[in-house]
């Protein structure tokens, strides 16, 4: 067996059923093995598309996403996707070809130092120069990618390793002295949180992507139901608690709901679960949850006290901590419900009084109305993928996510161009589920070549294009903070996205009038095969509420449409 075959054999053992990638010189032998073994592989039209697709696949399925790219430019084209996965803790294993051993370090054709380049944006990385190391390295890479706080791992393989022969033996276990993969913590830390909860008058759960990553949604829902404690979520935590459930106050932070932000500022015990207190969540850090003691359930020790000080840290895998927590609070749940009922009424009242809102216009389709309408048309198992910008925030605010792994978005890195390829990966990972992509006329262009991938492979995603001829979020900031100087944020009207989609082999339609919105959306969403739905929107709508950068959470602009 040669190195290339060993890679595929290892992938089979790791239960990898699909790889995304793009061939090239340094991986010719790997692709030859793919051909011979008929290994399931989807060809993207750009390496960035391949890595985002692997990421979307991983988020939708909970499995490790895998992609292949060649050396040099092939590998550097993965960088944005790797960084995206790293910021959102998504398990990926990316295989890159490297120039042959004799050529390393000589500035050879298509050579780039991928281990050096990816070190800051990976959980771990490897350069494999000897074929004998390959099985061990791949075993370790998958183990590292999916255990603890998940993340991307890069394996850079010298070209001659693919052709070198080896006696293939896949290790049964990993032996890493510096990483056990065991993230069991100290139970006493959980006792402390329970003790604090017994006294809390205004407790609040703050949940994030960690809950989804650890697949602890069911248990979290039980804990919330038992205690009656209200919940706010980060962008990454959407779907863990059904959007319309009583006591769920929605997203917190810069574009969070009024009730969620106010609840954070008023609570006396904030219990963060699988969150990292990003600056888009906290606003002015000194004023964040200033009346509260903070409990922090977190697998990554380095997240404790990084951004906010945790009075009651619980360090360990949520798979370990939440079951114990759930058991321990059984005895105090009933009294908790009673004690906090006034607080719950107060936040529910705020949520009722100040929901996310918009004004319908008879001449224009409002972006929020579009999301709202889609939300009402699709079933509860629909996966929503977003790109980045205003439409992403509107999707977070107005799409009612009802299940985990069904709201896929680049939260940490905020990668425009993530959406389309990620949607393709999600659909391939969950073929039974409907996949709807919300994107903008800015974002979609950043990876629009992947429409060809969708068309050629018949990947049934519905691309809902929020088309407002403007780089919306940046122009909103220019409108609010830069004296309406729209520096390079206005897009021309000349690009015809319907024609573009059709030229790529997709079907497409355009919706312009509010009165035809629902009926035409319904028809388009129900159609078979990939489709682009070009929805024309006004350019001057703002995302509100908004906490200005550096302001504290209870200092929100509630807003309305700018004339």
């Amino acid at each position: 067996m040669n190195g290339a075959q060993a890679v595929l054999e290892s992938l089979k053992i790791e239960n990898v059923d699909l790889v995304f990638g793009y061939p090239g010189g340094a991986v010719l032998d790997l692709y030859d093995a793919v051909y011979k073994a008929k290994f399931p592989h989807v060809l993207s039209r750009h390496e960035q598309g391949a890595v985002h697709a692997a990421d979307g696949y991983a988020r939708a399925t909970g499995k490790v996403g895998v992609c292949f790219a060649t050396s040099g430019p092939g590998a550097t084209n993965l960088i944005t996707g790797i960084a995206t996965a790293n910021m959102d803790s998504i398990p990926l294993v990316c295989f890159t070809g490297q120039v042959g051993n004799p050529y390393i370090g000589k500035d050879s054709f298509q050579e780039a130092d991928i281990v050096g380049i990816t070190t800051p944006i990976t959980k771990h990385n490897y350069l494999v120069k000897k074929v004998s190391e390959l099985p061990r390295v791949i075993k370790e890479a998958f183990f590292i990618a999916r255990t603890g706080r998940p993340g991307p791992v890069v394996i850079d393989i010298a070209k001659d390793v693919f052709t070198a022969e080896l006696d293939f033996k896949y290790p049964k276990q990993v032996q890493l002295r510096g990483y056990s993969g065991d993230f069991t913590g100290d139970k006493k830390q959980i006792d402390t949180v329970v003790k604090a909860l017994k006294k809390a008058k205004r407790p609040l759960f703050f949940i994030g992507g960690g809950v989804t990553l650890a697949d602890q949604t069911e248990l979290l829902r039980k804990i919330v139901a038992a205690t009656g404690i209200p919940v706010v979520s980060s962008l990454m935590g959407l779907g863990c608690i059904p959007a319309l459930q009583d006591g769920f106050l929605g997203m917190v932070g810069m574009h969070g709901s009024y009730a969620a932000n106010m609840a954070v500022q008023k609570c006396d015990l904030l219990i963060g679960i699988g969150v990292r207190f990003d600056d888009r969540v906290t606003g002015k850090i000194e004023a964040f949850a200033s009346k509260a003691k903070i409990a922090h359930f977190e697998v990554d020790k380095a997240e404790i006290n990084k951004n906010v000080y945790a009075h009651y840290p619980v360090i360990g895998d949520l798979r370990w901590s939440l079951p114990i927590f759930a058991k321990e609070i059984q005895a105090v749940s009933a009294s908790c419900r009673e004690r906090i009922s006034g607080w719950v009424d107060q936040v529910l009242d705020m949520n009722k009084k100040y929901p996310f809102s918009y004004t319908v216009n008879k001449d224009y389709i409002m972006p929020q109305e579009l999301i709202d309408t889609v939300s009402g048309l699709v079933d509860e198992n629909t996966i929503v993928v977003t790109d980045v910008g205003q439409h992403q925030m509107w999707a977070a605010q107005f799409f009612n996510s009802r299940n985990p792994r069904q709201f896929l978005t680049s939260g940490g890195l905020g990668t425009m161009g993530y959406g389309l390829p990620a949607a393709l990966g999600a659909k391939l990972g969950q073929p039974e589920k409907k996949v709807v992509l919300f994107t903008g006329d800015g974002s979609v262009m950043m990876n629009c070549q992947e429409m060809a991938t969708a068309a050629d492979n018949g990947i049934d995603v519905k691309i809902v294009l929020l088309h407002n001829h403007v780089l919306g979020m940046v122009s909103q900031w220019q409108r609010m903070f830069y004296g309406k100087r729209y520096s390079h944020t206005l897009l021309s009207n000349r690009t015809d996205f319907v024609k573009l989609a059709e030229a790529m082999g997709l079907s497409a339609c355009r919706i312009e009038k509010p009165k035809e919105l629902k009926a035409r959306l319904k028809k388009a969403l129900a159609s078979k095969g990939p489709m682009l739905i070009d929805v024309m929107l006004p350019a001057n709508e703002n995302v509100f509420p908004m906490v200005a950068p550096g302001a504290q959470l209870d200092n929100m602009v509630l807003g309305g449409t700018e004339e």
Partner: protein
């Protein structure tokens, strides 16, 4: 700013120093010095990092972030235990027949050695704490220091227990 010396035990593999130094720079931690070398265990490299931190929380971040690196086996803050700190410095100093005796006197006082001599210069080897090294540099400045090479601080705890068993 407070300084601490961290003893970081890592796997003796290629790329490890990149991982450690890369982490320090991207997290914007301040380091005074970093040095690495083999240990009594052939598979383990010891990296000695002298960090400057504003407060305990920043120190905790440095240790926790380093601890996340897969190749890092163990980190001990030797600034928090009783330990011996040393640094080796090589100094190239301008010297003539007239000044050589004075230089020698200074070197003797600081218990250093002259390890090379030419008609125009001497090379001095000296080990010690940074305070001592700064002091001798000050004394030798009048003769003109041509070049300095420093290893950065390394440390060992007092008593029989090695870092790996702490």
């Amino acid at each position: 700013m407070k300084k601490y010396i961290l003893a970081v035990l890592v796997d003796n593999k290629p790329g490890v120093l990149t991982h450690v130094s890369g982490l320090i720079s991207r997290r914007a931690f301040n380091i005074e010095s970093i040095s690495a070398g083999y240990t009594e265990d052939a598979d383990i490299t010891r990296i000695n990092i002298e960090v400057s931190v504003e407060n305990d929380r920043e120190l905790e971040q440095v240790v926790n972030q380093l601890g996340k690196l897969i190749d890092v086996i163990k980190i001990v803050n030797l600034g928090l235990v009783d330990s011996i700190v040393r640094e080796l410095v090589l100094l190239k100093v301008r010297a003539s027949k007239d000044s050589l005796a004075d230089i020698r006197n200074i070197v003797d006082i600081f218990r250093g050695n002259i390890v090379d001599v030419s008609p125009e210069n001497v090379v001095i080897e000296i080990t010690g704490s940074q305070g001592k090294i700064n002091a001798i540099c000050e004394m030798l400045a009048e003769f003109q220091i041509i070049e300095i090479a420093r290893t950065g601080a390394i440390a060992l705890s007092r008593g029989p227990i090695p870092v790996k068993n702490m």
